[in-house]
Amino acid sequence: MPKPPWPFFLLVAAMLLAGCGDDNDVASNPTPPPLQHCADYNPLRNVYFGDLHVHTSFSFDAYVFDVRTTPEQAYRFARGEPLSLPPLDAAGHGTQTIRLKRPLDFAAVTDHSEFLGEVEVCTTPDAPGYDSAECRAFRVGGNAGQGGLGILTTEVMPQRLEGICGADGQVCLTQAGEVWRRIQQAADEANDDAPDCRFTAFKAYEYTANTSISTLHRNVIFRGERVPFPISYIERPTPQGLWAELKATCLDAGDGCDALAIPHNPNESNGKMFLAEYPGAQSVDEERAQAELRASMEPLVEIYQHKGDSECMNGLSGILGAPDELCDFEKRRQPPFEDCGDGVGSGGPANLGCLSRRDFVRGALLTGLEEAERIGANPFRLGVIASTDTHNGTPGAVEEDGWIGHRGSDDATVEARLGAPTRRTGPSFSPGGLAGIWAEENSRAGLFDALRRREVFGTSGPRIAVRFFGGWHLDGGLCGDPAMVEKAYDSAVPMGAFLPGKPAGTAAPMFVVSALRDPGTPDEPGTQLQRLQVIKGWVENGEAHQRVFDVAGDPDNGAGVDTQTCRTEGPGFDSLCTVWTDPNFDPRRHAFYYVRVLENPSCRWNTYTCNSLPPDARPEGCSDPAVPRIIQERAWTSPIWYEPQGSG
């Protein structure tokens, strides 16, 4: 490295000097992380479970439902401490207390960036704007309180409300800066650095686009301490605007900043979230550049959370292959509904408008392959996680038994959760899931880098551990080899990666698929596994195909659950492993493979709740045959991709 010229030192010195006595920075970033490994460092990678989608009282749509949990409390909850929640008593304190049976390894508080300042102004007497009609409406709470602000996230050219924020919106932006600093401080304080590394807390927020009433939300997760001001839909009302600004203010800032965005709830996007669109592109080259930018900013998708499953859906046009009965899982919408086909619709957050194959991860992955074939770049190289999207500030509260809802007073009662469905309450909601990460150590850098390389998976709640490797020369006996993991890393790529080029003399890719069931807690032993599946998607003659392979376990093991007692019955597996070869491989076709791990059936949350009530106190959802009583919990891995040589 060449010796830096002396003005460089001068500059550094000047910056240091400028830092002295500058009290703008008081609350942020005390010390840089020490450059040493965590005590749990393991080159073969450990599995960590956590939640990357958590709202607290700083989110407008949580505050209006009496949620008063702070980010500090949310992180403490993630680490195993108790938390009290609405309904509030006369003194304004929560009346029910919950606590995680098993603490999480990591979490990210992701409050909506849009109204951080507005919530602050509207809840601080004396603030200019506190007495505005808009703030008064907000403080009424509930739907009305939420709607006044929320409507802005559906507008094409949104503007901050003058009554709250002043004519130039500056009041709210300044306040948002203050709130953002508190959020950062909570993350820094909860983050446990080396050597112990017992918990990782990311700085993060949610970018909340509901353009033309379709969900286009993203969680933005930062790798380190230095982070730019949160980008919001109000200032940047397109995802392209979000990526460009995130790139400029973080990735390209040259100060070590790194970030990624994780889209969620494509199931409410009416075909828009994973539409292959390249606004303003004049040529294939420009389309390719946009596809590459998108893929680098958004390497992941949240496949499941409290607003339902986004893996796959039968009955939508555009994908060939036998129906996949296991797609019928935690769906927000049931037939009949309109099929968007290749187009888009509107109304998703309210369960309205058309549904598209692209509203589900499988369809998005297939669209990605089509684009790779068409322009030589796949914009949807999506790894997979799950999380809760709790609006109670309760990361990781995913137990079916004893679920108390996800959004303050809105669904704090059994009647709200199991009565007639509304836009945000009713039996189709659920506790949500967890993100699983394979990383060398439990640190921000360790976990973030795993997110970036997509060596991650999602679960519908249980702590199932699943490994998935693909390669061209795998030893068929790996499942009996004590050194399986070492050898798999040596000879194959892990979940989230692209297969290396196909060597001459090989016929088809091979995969190691292996899972351990949730070891459970002393009171609840966890449910056994039923089977492992590999889901393959490929594009042939311009048509998208899917196929599901049962690769290990026993789909007909006859296991079940007694819905009166919730006791599980029948045989199952504590662990499953197989080496599988694609029997229909065509080296000319783009393809992806991902794994679905299925547990034996168990009771869904509503069955526990209904069983705990006297028969005459059970709401209608307890007897509605359309409400499933049983759930088959699961895990989904990130895919492994195959690209024909000479393409892309």
Binding site: A515, P519, F573, D574
Partner: protein, 308 residues
């Protein structure tokens, strides 16, 4: 210059005050005398400034060399080079403009009722109240006393590092206990554990883990059994959620209160936080004594909350 400007503004106000017709000849005679006006005005202004707590120099703007140096430094940071003489002059003039605006804004009371300013001032006051406590560096003895006082907070639980050989119950079915017993014999005879048993997804060599962490990987019963093992020996087959494991504890770290040197950062952070909070409480109490506080009908407020 500045004084003169203020004087002009001031004289307009002053002229409005004695509107009523003059009744004595003395006043009538001096009404047309500008010099006296100026003198009177000066006295009034001086008195007002004293009363308002301002020094007579408040109307002048000094631009000391340090400040200019600061402006040059900012310029350097932004542009990577030092300003030219003309640029520097522009920086100084810009500073003066902003200072004038700032003072005028204060004079007009624009800081009052401004949420941002209010917040900032409250925050500064907080820092001021806390600063005594946070400035003083706690001695090692104080830190150690605090650590001992809150021993449970800094204690590390008992932890073990282990190696295990796994026998997959699903793979071996009823034969699993026999397979495990056989593997144990081979281990005791000196076989390399790396070559034995079934693969285990979550690792066969585990760095230091607490009982709770082990329970999260293998199940609670297994974790409890492992904590009782003596180090360096291969265990009997232990049942986990997944099958049988032959476990050798490689290293055991007893539950302990770490030395101050190991947890110094945390202890310092906690002690400082506690002292800051205490200092703020004390100072708040002291300051509050200066005020008479009257809260209007708290009952009504409570009733309103309850009604919601």
């Amino acid at each position: 210059m500045e004084t003169a400007d203020r004087a002009v503004t001031g004289s307009a106000e002053q002229a409005r005050a004695p509107r009523r017709p003059a009744r004595s000849g003395f006043f009538a005679r001096w009404r047309g005398e500008p010099l006296l006006h100026f003198l009177l005005l000066g006295v009034a202004l001086f008195a007002w400034q004293r009363w308002a707590g301002e020094s007579p120099g408040a109307g002048s703007i000094a631009v000391p060399a340090d400040l200019v140096r600061g402006l040059r430094r900012e310029y350097l940071e932004r542009n990577g080079s030092l300003p030219t003489a003309a640029e520097e002059e522009a920086l100084v003039q810009g500073y003066i403009d902003r200072e004038v605006m700032y003072r005028e804004a204060l004079a007009l009371g624009l800081d009052r009722g401004d949420l941002v300013v209010r917040r900032r001032l409250i925050q500064k006051m907080q820092f001021l109240l806390e600063s005594d406590a946070s400035l003083r560096q706690p001695s090692d003895a104080e830190l150690d006393a605090y650590r001992r006082q809150h021993a449970e907070r800094y204690a590390t639980p008992q932890r073990v590092a282990l190696r295990h050989v796994f026998v997959d119950a699903d793979r071996h079915g009823k034969a699993a206990p026999r397979v495990a017993a056989d593997l144990r014999r081979r281990l005791l005879a000196g076989a390399d554990p790396a070559d034995l048993g079934d693969p285990f997804l979550r690792g066969r060599v585990l760095p230091l883990r607490s009982e709770r962490e082990l329970a999260g990987t293998f199940g609670a019963r297994f974790a409890a059994a492992v904590m009782d093992l003596s180090a360096g020996e291969w265990s009997r087959p232990l049942r986990s959620s997944y099958g049988y494991h032959l476990v050798r504890v490689e290293r055991r770290e007893e539950a302990r209160a770490p030395a101050l040197s190991e947890v110094r950062t945390e202890v310092l952070r906690d002690l400082r936080a506690e002292r800051r909070a205490a200092a703020e409480r004390t100072a708040m109490r002291r300051l509050r004594e200066k005020y008479r506080v009257r809260v209007e009908s708290p009952r009504a407020v409570l009733a309103e909350v309850a009604a919601r």
